[in-house]
């Protein structure tokens, strides 16, 4: 092997005045960055460090610091350090660059260019601590007339659900944490395309099961052991390409749940091979509804791509009760870096356009709109609801609540936080009781904040926030962007 040109990404600093040689960093780093010998001598293998902070967080004396490795290239606006390092990596491996989590590139975030409104004098703001403040949301087809039977709806007490994350991509303890949190908060978690493990079947009432191109774990029992079914066409992190759960992550538990052999690659094809057009989707939706006796709403999840409005309209007309749109910031356990960083459009634009398109066509009541991909906080939730979404999916935010530090190496399966792994020892690191509590805390915190923001607007039901674009003003946006978002600029 020849010399690698890659220098470490991170530098690990140890404050000798603080280090007590307790060895926690050594035993907690699966990447074997830290070493301690019998003489009490410590050293580090920095090239192994992915910057996940497990060691620094658990270090009882805060003796560790993780910084970017201080080796600068000659400044070059065009050839960034990352672009050079990526070339070194490819020159050494000859392979596609893999990565995890969501698109980190500095594309414009419209969330950060939208401001919320509040009441002053002409109407009173409402204090959520003194007055009721309703976040109850029903997802599904609301179009049935009062004399007809109502279509099945999902009831949410907070318009925030947990995104699809399969057992295999994440540990079972992640699913248990989210399932418990979903039940507690009266919302939903999503199995992703990885089947339904026996130990989470008890959460059927708050589970959305996914049917994707690999059809892993799909059976009538699976479909019926859920509150709703989601057909996944694509996801924001990697529109247009399929999934690949590497064999190393296909543990016996994963294998059984997915109904595939253990330690074999689990490949989800890029398209569904029975859906080559919109009418095929209509058939699959109908098939699933028949299989579940029309008792459960069917969702269709697509990535936000260039002609998303037309796609969404087609999906609604194909019979979907919920359309989930995943923006280009959506995360994944594994994706080719070029795909993740270059495909799709911002969720804010997608939701604004789809909501308006469905209204223009008069079919908005036929389906609810769920926004996924890149929701970071409660203000993002409020903004996307005001743009027209009925609810959001959070994935990255939920994982961060469970301890994820966005090191973006999920695909290795060696997640020091016990999240993106199926290794038994690593999975242990996420105690679902703590995980559930943290996820619940996050949702409760957001719930409070959403209520505060709504109260400020003088609104006491989330129904009145949905599509309420008057509550938004754009800042620093071009006119065409404002038009696409359907908002006026700040000050106007």
């Amino acid at each position: 092997m020849t010399l690698s040109l890659l220098t470490p990404a991170f530098s690990v600093g140890r404050n000798e005045e603080r280090c007590i040689r307790c060895g926690v960093c050594v035993n907690q780093c699966i990447n074997q960055v830290h070493h301690l010998d019998e003489d009490g001598f410590m050293w580090v293998t920095e090239k192994n460090c992915v910057g996940c902070h497990r060691c620094a967080v658990l270090c009882p004396t805060q003796a560790l610091t993780i910084t970017r490795f201080p080796l600068d290239f000659r400044p070059n606006q065009y050839w960034s350090a990352d672009s050079l390092r990526e070339i070194y990596r490819q020159a050494e491996s000859g392979g596609v660059l893999l990565t995890g989590m969501g698109n980190p590139r500095p594309y414009r975030s419209y969330f950060d260019h939208l401001l919320l409104n509040a009441s002053q004098v002409t109407n009173p703001s409402i204090d959520p601590l003194r007055e009721p403040m309703e976040l109850t949301t029903y997802l599904g087809d609301h179009s049935a007339g009062l004399s007809e039977a109502e279509k099945p709806l999902l009831k949410l007490e907070i318009p925030v659900m947990f995104s699809a994350m399969s057992y295999g991509a994440v540990s079972l303890n992640v699913q248990k944490s989210l399932a418990r949190a979903a039940r507690e908060m009266v919302t939903y978690w999503n199995t992703g395309e990885g089947g339904l493990h026996d130990e989470v079947k008890e959460y059927a009432d708050c589970t959305i099961v996914q049917v994707a191109s690999g059809r892993f774990g799909v059976s009538p029992d699976y479909l019926n052991n859920a509150a709703a079914i989601e057909i996944k066409i694509g996801q924001g992190a990697k529109p247009g390409i399929g999934g690949h759960l590497p064999a190393e992550k296909v543990s016996p538990g994963v294998a059984q749940t997915r109904m595939i052999p253990a330690w074999s690659d689990a490949i989800s094809p890029a398209p569904h091979h029975d859906i080559y057009s919109i009418e095929d989707l209509a058939q699959l939706i109908e098939t699933i509804k028949v299989a579940t006796d029309f008792q459960k709403p069917v969702a269709v999840k697509v990535a936000a791509v260039h002609n998303i409005s037309a796609i969404a309209s087609g999906i609604v007309r194909a019979g979907a009760d919920i359309v989930a749109i995943d923006g280009f910031r959506g995360a994944t356990g594994a994706a080719p870096l070029r795909i993740r960083d270059n495909i799709g459009i911002p969720i804010e634009m997608a939701i604004a356009q789809v909501d308006q398109r469905l209204r223009d066509e008069g079919i908005r009541p036929k389906a609810s709109l769920v926004s996924a991909g890149g929701i970071r906080n409660s203000a993002d939730v409020v903004k996307i609801l005001a743009l027209g979404a009925d609810a959001v999916y959070i994935g990255t935010a939920a994982l961060v609540a469970l301890g994820c530090h966005l090191c973006q190496t999920c695909f290795t399966g060696r997640c020091n936080w016990g999240i993106a792994t199926t290794d038994r020892q690593l999975s242990k690191r996420l105690n679902p009781e703590i995980g559930a509590m943290r996820a619940i805390n996050l949702l409760k915190a957001w719930e409070h904040e959403i209520k505060e923001m709504m109260g400020g607007m003088g609104i006491n039901a989330v129904d009145s926030l949905r599509g309420n674009r008057l509550m938004l003003k754009g800042i620093g946006l071009e006119q065409h962007e404002l038009d696409l978002l359907g908002v006026s600029p700040a000050g106007a």
Partner: protein
């Protein structure tokens, strides 16, 4: 009352032992002082076996064999049911070590006495090991003592 250790979620990181040691012997929770300047002594052992690990905590038994066996009366049970040791009276005979079926009681570092879990009875709040366990593998249970 006792600290219960759940191997299902024990990471074997050993923070419990560190904080336990710093919670005793007058270090007042100061890890740096304990480990840089002192001779800290954890009151319970972390047992690491193959893929499992757990803190070998005291069960604070009803009719505890260690108390029965203690030559000096150093081992006692307080009103809360905590089995603790009066170090001044301990002569380090290790009879209690010999009769503790769980192997919880261990000789002190200097071998002149024994150390054991006292549920941090001198401190405020819950035992240090429980409050600092990063993964909730330790819990303080009210469960009736082992008989």
């Amino acid at each position: 009352m006792r600290v219960q250790s759940n191997p299902e979620y024990c990471l074997g990181c050993g923070l419990c032992r560190l904080y336990c040691a710093a919670a005793h012997d007058g270090y007042d929770g100061n890890l740096l002082k304990a480990f840089k300047r002192g001779t800290p002594q954890p009151r319970a052992d972390l047992i690491v076996r193959n893929d499992k690990s757990w803190l070998n905590t005291c069960r604070h038994c009803h009719n505890a064999p260690c108390i029965n066996a203690c030559l000096t009366g150093a081992l006692q049970k307080d009103d809360q049911g905590i089995v603790f040791i009066d170090s001044q009276r301990c002569v380090g005979c290790f009879t209690c070590v010999m009769v503790c079926p769980f192997g919880h009681i261990q000789p002190s570092r200097d071998s002149y006495r024994v150390v054991k879990c006292d549920l941090c009875r001198d401190q405020k709040g819950i035992p240090a090991c429980v409050s600092f366990c990063p993964n909730g593998a330790l819990s303080l249970t009210e469960e009736v003592e082992t008989r």
